[in-house]
């Protein structure tokens, strides 16, 4: 069943076109990756789905109903959560308060403890810093907090904008293990990620964006060996010269 369907999305920032023509579909229980260089429109697409920017054309449907005109908080209430670029944390609130905000639409408050436990198990660092203000966190810790806050809303579709950005390699590994686990529990994932092997390893299906348009799509396994994908990401195949 298709949960999310974006058709011919266009987003303008004044005269600037952020997204020109993006179409994608996300099946329930699948993992979909958005690939493309910086400026290709991945973040704008995710922000439009989350209701943070308004589409100027095209449609966004969640379970058959348009959500293109809904405010962001209504979209969260429908089960879509975004861990945004730039984190957008409340810096003068504690780590725990930021996480609690993620769960503010939760109906069964008894589940709160369980959710906190899950996020703290994923990022033990957040547990250590739970009473610290978010503004005192390092860059990588802020990324953890934004991810944790999205997970706290128990979304049905979790959207991640470059989840590995700024995280230590070991933390990236733990994060992806958790994403695999969440996926195993039935969570649907839509992620933009620069680290292609990570993205294609977890994804079932992927879309390649270029200058605001979907230019290629396919099963992740097929895209891994696709020349066009290599070209977009690697440019002219460059040899890494050893130091010295």
């Amino acid at each position: 069943m298709t949960n999310l369907r974006v058709s011919n999305l266009e987003v303008r920032y004044g005269d600037l076109i952020g997204v020109a023509d993006v179409s994608l579909a996300v099946e329930q229980g699948s993992v979909v990756a958005l690939l493309g260089s910086n400026g290709s429109g991945k973040t704008t697409t995710l922000n439009a789905i989350a209701g943070l920017v308004r589409p100027s054309r095209g449609s966004i449907e969640w379970q058959g109903r348009s959500i293109a005109r809904e405010p962001a908080y209504q979209i969260v209430a429908k089960g879509l959560a975004l861990s945004p670029e730039g984190w957008r944390l409340f810096v003068s609130q504690t780590v725990e308060q930021n996480l609690r905000l993620g769960a503010s639409l939760l109906r069964e408050k008894t589940r709160l403890h369980w959710l906190f436990d899950r996020v703290y198990a994923l990022f033990p660092r957040l547990a250590e810093r739970r009473y610290q203000l978010a503004g005192t966190l390092s860059g990588g810790e802020r990324q953890m907090l934004a991810l944790g806050r999205a997970i706290m809303s128990e979304p049905r579709l979790l959207m991640l904008d470059e989840p590995s950005l700024g995280l230590a390699p070991g933390v990236v590994e733990a994060l992806y293990e958790t994403l695999h686990k969440l996926h195993g529990e039935g969570l649907t994932l839509l992620l933009a990620e620069q680290t292609i092997p990570l993205a294609l390893d977890i994804a079932d299906y992927a879309y390649v964006l270029q200058t605001g348009r979907t230019v290629l799509e396919g099963k992740a396994a097929d895209l891994e060996s696709n020349d066009q994908v290599r070209e977009i990401y690697l440019g002219v195949k460059s040899t890494v010269v050893a130091n010295g």
Binding site: N38, E141, P169, G170, E173, N243
Partner: protein, 244 residues
């Protein structure tokens, strides 16, 4: 030694971010600094670059004690640093941003402008010279952050995740830029989580954990160090590197 940081420590209200870190860098070196999120790497940079006064320890640059000197005095002495989240002037153009750096050593407007244009050329920003900083995408912002600092003609540059968030093709370009900067005779200390950057550029690597240096050595040694794998790289790191 060009830079000598001796037992540098920094505490905030009872929380110790850096506890007695030593770093000695010789003229012309490229040193990598890695470590878990929140290990104190950025705080250490803040102390070395004069953005914070260390709670204890000393910072010597070219034999001069700069421990309690202002950020401006550090810049004048020849220490430049980039910020993890680019600290560009958002409503100023690329040229104006770089001119701010150029004015450090040039009083005349036209001299600063000429110097800034040379730096802009070198950093690959020529096409965006009159664009406002806020309109740049991630690769442009990262380059501008580097260009601003480069315009101050540093002898030592501290790069704080200056290459994070780039696609593989953009990353290769950025690595090329760092090499060109090094080719000018600039000594570099690089904080980066992308191990490819560290492995490709650094001659020597220091590993931070909980505010102190826990290991140091050549990049090849460091990735095999058990303590580093435990604290930073994670168990799957070797597996992933072995099978790209």
């Amino acid at each position: 030694m060009l830079l000598k940081a001796d037992k540098v420590a920094k505490s905030f209200d009872g929380f110790t971010a850096v506890r007695g870190a030593d770093l000695a860098v010789a003229q012309g070196e490229i040193v990598g600094l890695i470590g878990p999120n929140g290990a104190g790497k950025s705080t250490f940079f803040n102390c070395v670059a004069g953005d914070m006064v260390p709670s204890a320890g000393r910072v010597l640059f070219d034999g001069v004690d700069l421990t309690r000197a202002s950020a401006e005095a550090h810049a004048r002495a020849g220490i430049g640093r980039t910020f993890q989240v680019p600290a560009t002037f958002e409503d100023m153009t690329v040229l104006e941003n770089v001119m701010v750096g150029a004015f450090l050593r040039r009083t005349h407007r036209h001299q600063a402008r000429d110097h800034a244009l040379r730096i802009i050329d070198m950093t690959g920003l020529a096409a965006q010279v009159s664009q406002r900083a806020r309109s740049l995408g991630t690769p442009g912002r990262k380059r501008l952050e580097i260009a601003r600092v480069l315009a101050t003609e540093p002898r030592l540059m501290l790069l704080d995740e200056a290459l994070a968030g780039l696609t593989p093709a953009e990353l290769q370009d950025a690595i090329g830029l760092v090499r060109r900067i090094h080719g000018l005779g600039v000594t570099l200390v690089i904080v980066e989580h992308i191990m490819e950057v560290i492995m490709t550029l650094a001659e020597r690597v220091l590993v931070f954990n909980q505010g102190a240096v826990i290991a140091h050595g050549e990049p090849g040694e460091i990735v095999r160090n058990e303590a580093v794998i435990e604290a930073y790289l994670g168990r799957g790191h070797r597996r992933r590197r072995a099978a790209p």
